[in-house]
Structures are given as C-alpha cells and as structure tokens.
Amino acid sequence: MSALLSFDNVTSYYGATRILKDFSFEVEKGQCLCVLGRNGVGKTTLMRTIMGLTDRSVGAIRINGSEMSGEPTHVRATHGLGYVPQGRGILSNFTVRENILLGTFARADKASEIPELCLRIFPYLKENLDRRAGLLSGGQKQQLAIARALAVDPQILLLDEPTEGIQPNIVVEIGEILKMLNRELGITLIVTEQHIKVARKLGDAFLMVDNGRVVAQGPMGEMTDQLVERHMTI
C-alpha cells in the first residue's frame, strides 16, 4: 500500500535555525497518526512544514506520490489538507458562516456552500451561523476550526493540539468526533497530542519526536511506557 503522505529526510528552518532535522515518516490512507513529544520539540513545526508555513524546508514531501515541497501554502491546501492549527486560527472579525466558507476556497470542486456534514456534527454552529466568531468560547472555536477544515473536503486533517485548553467534557466530545471522522468517513488524521490517554484511544500509529528528530515510530501498540517516560516526562 503506498503512502498518502510521506516525509523523506525533511529538514525545516526558521531563519537559519533547523527546527525539524532529517524527518522521515509515512502516513497511510485511513490511518490516524499521533505525533507525540514534549513542548517545543517540533510538533507544531511539523504541521507547519506540511502546510509550507516555515521559512524554508529541504527534502521530499509527497502527497499521493507527487512532490509538493516546492509548492506555496495556498497550492498545498488544494491537495485536500484540512489544517486545524494550534490556537485554532479563527478569524474573529468573521462570522461563523464566513469562517466555514473560508474552508471552501481550498476545495478541488470549487463548491461554495457550507457542507452539510459540518453543521450536522456541530449543531451549535448551525444555530449560530451569523454570530461573530470572536465571541465564541474556546471549545466552540475549536469546533469551528474543525468544521472549517472539514469544509475543505480533506483527505487529511492536520490537528495541532486539538484538546489544548478545552474543558474536559468537550475534550471527550472532540475525541469522539475525530474518531468518527477517521473510522466512519475514512479521513486520514495527523494529530499532535500531549495527553497520552487520548492518543492511545484515538491513534493507530505514533510518531515520537524529541529535539527536532523522530526518535520512535510504529503502530500504537508498540508505544511502550518506557518510551513515554524517556521522551515525554519532564
């Protein structure tokens, strides 16, 4: 089975500083890959490197076998990458509706309607389409960020710390939604996560990052407590 997304010796820079070093990994279609590691080891930079938002990167990044590392961010988005960034990146001057519509600009089919799926999963958004997004709570903004990424009609959802700073009952809800998207709709997920428990429940493969390098990877079953202790405890 060929990989949906692959990194081949990718090094990514901010200015002259290397943040990711010789990154190699693959994600297969339908997989849920959890990217794990402490704060500041390069998890967010990995997401930003996929989207082409770092200053520079070398090495091959392929999607469906075709090279995309030379493409600017707005072209990469059209390959079906739905990005949910850290801090959610909601445009607070936009209404909920406009935020979701933003996602449709990256669609391959150029449709400009809010996909029905986004509203079915998040009834709160459906009832508040004309509310200013800046007025939403943290959990609601996270729902909106996911809905917006789904509006891309993505092959891959990139979720950077989706449960960060969200009250526990919503963490569970978002976990359930992600699982549903992955298992029932077959959307491939790449999730950075600090909560080991959430990661074990959700992911079927893991990528352990420490100091900008991949230190371990494999099926979720192979993620031992030893690994967690060595690379994640402070």
Binding site: M51, L53, P72, T73, H74, A77, T78, L81, Y83, P85, G89, L91, S92, N93, F94, E98, L101, L102, G103, F105, A106, R107, S112, G134, R148, V152
Partner: protein
C-alpha cells in the same frame, strides 16, 4: 445664523466631503488590505486626470466614458507598479514608503516631459456646467456628479468586500495571512488585484478633479495629503474613511460659513492633530494583525 443658512452649509458640506472621500478611497483599500503606504497615490490621481484629457482630446471620448476608461488605464498602471516593484517590498514598510515616493517623482516628471508644465482643461457636457438650486443653495451640477459617483463607488466597494467571494478572500488575508493561505487563498494575487483596484479608484478621482480644478503634473500633491488624513483619521477601513470624510467635509463647510475657507481648513487640520493625539489608531481601528 438662521436655520436655513445652516442647512445650506450642510448641503455644501456633503459636496466637500465627497471630494475628501473620493481622494481617499483608493488609498484606503490599498493601505487597509496590504498595509502599503502608497506615496504615489496623488500621482495616480494626476494620471487619471491626464488619461481623461488624452482620451477626450485625441480620441474624442465623451466625458462620462472617460471616468471608467481612466479607471482601467490607471488600474493597469497600478498593476504594473505592483508586479514590478511593490510586491518585492511587502515586508518592508519603510522601503515601500521610499520606493513609492520615488515612483511619484518619476510619474510627475514623466508627465511633465510628455505634456509640458502648462495646465490642461477637461471639458464636460453643458448640462454639468449649469447650477442647480437645492433649497436656497446654488450648487454646480458637476458637484452633484462628484457626490453621485462617490456614493456609487462606496456602495460598489461595500458590495465587493462584503458580498463576493473576492471580498471574503480580501478580508481573510487582512485578518490572518497564514490562515488564508492555509485555505487556498493566494495572498499575492489578492494584493495585486487590490492594488490595481485602488489605483483605478485614484484614476476616477483624477478624472473628476481634472474638471473641478486644472490638470497639472503637480496636482497630485495637494490631494495626497487630504487622502492620507482621511485614511489615518478613519483608521484604514472603508467605513472609517467614509465617516472621517463626512465629518471633515461638514465641519469645514460650517466653519467656512462662519469665517472663510482658508481659516476653516486651518481649524480642520488643528482638530485632526488633536484627534490623533487622543486616538492615534483612528476612528475604526482594524482588529486584525497588520503584517
């Protein structure tokens, strides 16, 4: 001062406000969207006036068609300017300031070389040369044309920014360039189109100003100061410039009624300085991150 003369002053104020506003429209959207301080704005206005002059005297185009034609010509100049120069300087605001100042000098001298320093005049249809009575105010019909064109442009811009996909893209780029790019919006293209649009609006302003005053290579300098004041007071948004121009125009008209036009302008400038001392971000500051 009785009520009817105040009313007259207010009606005149609308006309003055429309001149402040149409000078500032193009600058507003360029500054508001791309954060570029376009020092060549006045010369783009001047180019609009000369475009109309050329079309009128060499091709015999009717004046009303000169307005859209000037828009197109100056928009193309803006497009070339953006592609050839500005786009390399987006992350360097001070360099943009100097570069556009240089462009303004080049345009001014270039026009002087081609057309000479003697004034040119735009002809308007006879109907616009008459005076119209509004209540007890006698207003030249052309002033009403200026108000109407300004109003149409503001409505058009509002529809463009709030009702079209292009508008959503522009506002997305203004708020968060990275997120806009992450959802497939080509920010470079948006900046390019917006710059061309802003330049085109300056062109229309020039075609109107060429009738209100004489057409000279140096005519831009006086309008660019006005335009900048409105953009700064308004805070860089379309609504801000509309309100700033409206208030300024009305105040100027009322002050001029009490004193004289020169003194009224003096008071306006003093008031603007005092206003900016207490609200440097302008009337409607934009919450989005400026690049």
């Amino acid at each position: 001062m009785d009520l009817s003369s105040l009313l007259n002053a207010l009606i005149l104020g609308v006309s003055i406000a429309s001149i402040w506003l149409i000078a500032a429209l193009g600058l507003t959207i360029i500054y508001g969207t791309a954060g570029v301080i376009n020092m060549a704005h006045g010369e783009l206005i001047m180019l609009g006036a000369y475009s109309s002059y050329m079309l009128q005297f060499h091709l015999g185009l009717p004046y009303l068609l000169c307005l859209p034609a000037s828009f197109v010509i100056v928009a193309l100049v803006g497009l070339a300017l953006e592609r050839g120069l500005i786009r390399y300087l987006y992350n360097r605001p001070l360099d943009t300031l100097l570069a556009t100042y240089g462009v303004s000098l080049v345009l001014m001298q270039g026009v002087r070389l081609i057309f000479g320093s003697d004034p040119k005049y735009l002809a308007v249809p006879e109907i616009f040369q008459s005076n119209v009575m509004l209540g007890s105010v006698s207003l030249s019909a052309f002033r009403i044309v200026v108000v109407a064109v300004t109003a149409l442009l503001v409505i058009g811009l509002w529809l463009l920014f709030y009702k079209t996909r292009y508008g959503v893209q522009v506002r997305a780029v203004m708020q968060n360039k990275e997120m806009a790019a992450s959802f497939g919006i080509n920010a470079g293209r948006i900046y390019m189109l917006t710059f061309a649009l802003g330049a085109g609006l300056a062109g229309v302003a020039g075609a109107l100003f060429g009738v209100l005053a004489i057409v000279l290579p140096t005519m831009g300098a006086s309008y660019v100061v006005q335009a900048f004041l409105m953009v700064v007071v308004g805070g860089g948004s379309l609504a801000g410039s509309v309100v700033a121009s409206g208030v300024t125009g009305e105040l100027q008209s009322v002050f001029a009624f009490f004193t004289n036009d020169t003194f009224a302008r003096f008071i306006i400038f003093v008031l603007i300085v005092i206003f900016l001392r207490f609200r440097p971000q302008g009337l409607f500051a934009q919450a989005g991150a400026r690049r």
